[in-house]
Symmetry: D2
Subunit: 383 residues, 4 copies
């Protein structure tokens, strides 16, 4: 696919996601980790403008210099920015103005790409596509949070096609041999800097579950008092449970004794066969501990991933998010993409039902703080 | 004016105020004291529905039972409600839905009023008008906060007619004699419960300024180091200045050495002759202290108010907001209107440029916490 | 009594209070409002050193210049100081060192007073006596807090003589006529600046209870659900109850269904006939509201105080702590004594069982924030 | 050495450390991470009483049942406990009472050990020794914090023998080959559960500095603006720097332009040749990043540690604190020793000048949160 077509497809996909929203849904930020949808659609546009059009497209005129302040996410190199907690306090620019901004940048990109570009810029373009795809996933989870925390529990889109969750052929754990494995990206395609360098690790013999933990299984943990027994929890996790009065995954509601959960279709009775989701690392760890098992490391996951199906849930691993041997940050603002977050976060592997098709891969590393639950996170057990 | 006409006028005035907003402006809540405009227009409607239609209009069908949870402000009697800090997290109901709610209630009110109503309900109607007028003022100040804290500093309405601030004929302080004065509402019209009972107070001889402190005068306080000299401040005010790094009234910006302030027309050079506004009680007190003067009590203000012009700024007084002798709360939810706020607040007297015409009067008591600045507050000196 | 004798008596009384403490009891600060006893005994000494010896005693050598930083309470005029929350973090100077400091200053004071002093200094001496007496009361209440919040509930002093609480001859409310009353200090003796100027107030007819509310009566409020019914509370008081899970006065413990309270003798079954104490203004207000009565204003209290016994409890009034007409702060640091606290506090009148004999009087104004409970506060009803 | 002699030596060493304190120094807790010395000496005694005497010494009578509440640190299995932030609010039990408790338990231990004990109990004894040694190190660092944050900067012990910091023979980095290394404890002696199981890791070729970064070298980082350049920092570290206004290691004071640091001898001019200490992981990482180098992983450290001198500073590694393959928690309260802290902490390797002799070893794993600085932490660079 040529770059201009790919560009248009990525951009259209973002707009399709937002097409089900009311104007008001674009504006709010109910918690700091959830950005307003209008911020997302401005920010991904700002990314192309800032890193491609402004440095490489001779004669390009910035749409509005104040937008740099509004739509910069965390790039210190690029200047000051609205503090993150304030994103939901901005009524302007309006949604219509941001769509004008998108159109303006899209037209400039079309003109820019028309004449052919250097390999360096091609690399930035592909980074921009992947960046926008990451925000597509965030849009889906942020929208779920915004609507799922509204007392009216509105549906996002009645036609949303939830994935079919097929059972694997067998429940037997997959056995993996002790030895040296190669970890990290290799090949010609795109990868993020945090997937490099490919390197060897030594793994003890281990076993992986072929399937994700289901809501029915997780309910057993709840019903057996899992949230009230400190022995399953990290000390910090136990504090988190007590301070936040946590007793179930995010979006679960016990109504008159029956469990429901908020989905893109609104509030529904709990889907027992679906893989459990919207749990923190603390909960994933506690569940595994309660089962007498454990979470896999990201290396165990990657080494075994060709032998099971993945892609329904982001899977918490036991691994902290750290640089691979030989990891080097790119110079300039792009170097802020991943490296500066490599502390106090856990790696997740796989992909989820809202990850854009083709976006993830077996070496892909997602990462979040241990208390966060608004992504479609899940549990695969190891031993 | 008959009740139905008055009802329609009040309701139209609210909608006129909002007619200059973009949809997004209706949604945000940048600080806890500022409510989203869409919450205001829903809440004042809920007030008529809850206190008039539901108890008195036989056969009335509630528009949406969930709206009680969304639009209740602080009436514990009427049940649970969205916590105040969450008002800006609600994208639904949408602005259009809330205007439908207004229309539905307005039609029901028209039908209800058509047949004539009891005196009790008439009283509630008048309370509803005054309540909605209070929210009109809050709408104006909340809108100013929302737009004035946006990095793009959009104008609210380019045609907004700022009042003309005429100098009084004389600067000489008005002399008032020692003696007994009567304080509190008397007469036939409407007053709030906190204006009653009318009672006697004994005042020492005192003097009142015929005019409000201007921006130019306040600038002298700033330039002489007023924000850096603890001697002018209450201990609590001094902590407030330091913790919040306060150095000027709200909305003032020093740009390249020149003072500007945000107005309904956008950012403008400071109007030197206009009365200073958007200051806290702490600042009003410190200014008076720096001048070697003081703020009047609310009783001094009321006793002298026929002898000066008021209505441009809400004027901070030295008086704490306390019940008058014989004050009694009404039974039920309406009794929560004023009494439960009579602690740790200061009384303001007068009215401001955004107070609805005819809403205030010489016995009217407004009240806010000592650190708040988003109202059009000002200073009149006494000695 | 001559000044030197009075000085010695005041100083000895402070040391007597502390004679029952272990060294460790002198050090801790369990909440910000409670200062470590060793801080108190250093601070009152610092007061004489700073305001009398250093300015007036030629050739006086400061004991230790760093002590100014440690023992200054809130006098901005006198320089920087340890922030209040850090007082309990200081292990040095030790208790022995502080007693050496007391001895050093006491000897210097004896030498200084020996030669006779001016009237100005006499006034400062009397202020110093009254200041140290205020800290004697604070010492008693802070010690109670320190020991009463220790899980071992140690007694302060087994010989502590709790006052005898005699019932008044009659329960009938005292009737007071409408009219003008004079309020504020008059006479030759000492008073604080906040008791001046004496001035007239106009009071409606009112009635005052001749007695304080007892623990037995307050228990009825608790047992009838008073802490669970928002209607009795200010909005801010209701938040306070819920955020702090308050359900009884400070120091009350329900052990196996029976109410106990911590006293200077340790934990004891609740004394039902004793006047209730250690309640906040919010609780005093709620109790009065539940009874269908109210708290008196400080003016009502002062006008009627010759007609009832007082001195067992500090009595919450409805009055906010505000300056009297003509109130003027003294120049310099002494001017920081009272005036800068005249905001967001309530006046208490009377005295308590731990007030030094002769310290209080009918015009004395004590004041605390509305949520504080560690003083011996109580309730007298009015109507 | 027999158990009873070892027991006595460990216990005496704790008391020797405290022998330089004033009673007041035992009591305070200036930040949550620093426990009062009297708490430490009670807690290590409680450990022997709770895990050895009560379960294994027939007829043992508990010294005081309330002490379990006071001296339990974090063992949920053993019941409720004083919350950590309240340790510094307890004046009782007094220091003398706690020494009586120590004596009582020591005598009971002597009687208990006299008759010979099982291998299980021997293991618990050795754990108790190692536990008390850990608290000896904490005592030294907590005492430094308590005295070093006092405005009088008292010396701990004028005879304290600071270690001699000899330069290594060469500055050349030690070269390590790519390949498989064995990590974790092996042998007969004591180790903590977190050092097991011994297992293989695969390491790329790497290099280690033979020496620690010095104060002089760290000063270059400060002088070149290292604390003001976001590019060297993790995003979370950068927030930490700005929120806490960090500009130098803990205990450094710039007095009239010259750098000083607090030591056990009091405030002294900065020792330029000494290895830098009292820095957070964030600072260690930023320093390495500024140098164009990096911190080693704990595996790289362990594999190379026979080739350099260590023991002066706890050395921050890049590794997160995670379980080794096959790690299993012991059943019961002892199982809470390490495992529940294996999240959001970084591993430190080595030992420090205040680590008890013989306490650490090449496989020892210490761990702290990334922002903590009160230990003697340092930097060894790798590439």
């Amino acid at each position: 696919m040529d770059l201009i077509t790919r560009y248009q497809e990525v951009r259209r996909r973002t707009e399709k996601i937002c097409s089900y929203l009311q104007t008001e849904d674009y504006v709010v930020q109910p918690v700091v980790d959830v950005s307003p949808p209008k911020w997302h659609i401005g920010h991904v546009t700002w990314f192309f403008e800032t890193f491609i059009l402004k440095p490489y497209f001779m004669g390009y005129e910035e749409f509005n210099p104040d937008y740099n302040f509004v739509f910069n996410s965390y790039y210190e190199t690029v200047g000051n920015r609205v503090i993150r907690t304030d994103r939901g306090n901005l009524s302007r620019p309006t949604v219509i103005e941001i769509y004008s901004y998108r159109k303006y940048v899209d037209e400039a990109m079309a003109n820019f790409l028309h004449d052919g570009i250097s390999d360096d810029v091609k690399e930035l373009m592909v980074l921009g596509f992947n960046h926008e795809e990451q925000h597509q996933e965030l849009l889906m989870t942020d929208i779920k949070y915004i609507l799922g925390h509204n007392p009216l529990f509105p549906a996002y889109n009645a036609e949303y096609a939830a994935p079919h969750f097929a059972d694997p052929a067998s429940d037997s754990f997959i056995k993996m041999d002790e030895g040296i494995y190669e970890i990290g990206f290799t090949g010609d395609g795109f990868c993020f800097d945090n997937e490099l360098n490919r390197h060897k690790v030594y793994l003890n013999a281990y076993e992986m579950s072929p399937k994700l933990v289901t809501n029915a299984e997780y309910l057993e943990f709840i019903n057996s008092g899992g949230y009230h027994d400190f022995r399953h929890w990290h000390a910090e996790g136990w504090d988190w449970v007590k301070n936040n009065k946590v007793g179930a995954p995010l979006y679960w509601h016990n109504i008159d004794g029956g469990w429901h959960h908020y989905t893109y279709h609104g509030l529904e009775p709990l889907h027992l066969k679906a893989p459990v989701t919207h749990i923190s690392y603390f909960e994933a760890y506690a569940y595994a501990s309660w089962k007498g098992l454990r979470l896999p490391t990201e290396f165990e996951w990657e080494a075994a991933a060709t032998r099971f199906n993945w892609g329904q849930r982001w899977e918490w691993t036991e691994s902290s998010y750290l640089p691979y041997p030989g990891f080097a940050k790119a110079p300039g603002a792009i170097g802020e993409y991943n490296g500066k977050f490599m502390v106090n976060q856990k790696v997740l592997r796989g992909a989820s039902e809202v990850t854009p098709p083709g976006h993830s891969r077996i070496t892909y590393r997602n990462f979040f703080q241990t208390n966060l639950r608004w992504q479609f996170t899940g549990i695969r057990l190891a031993k």
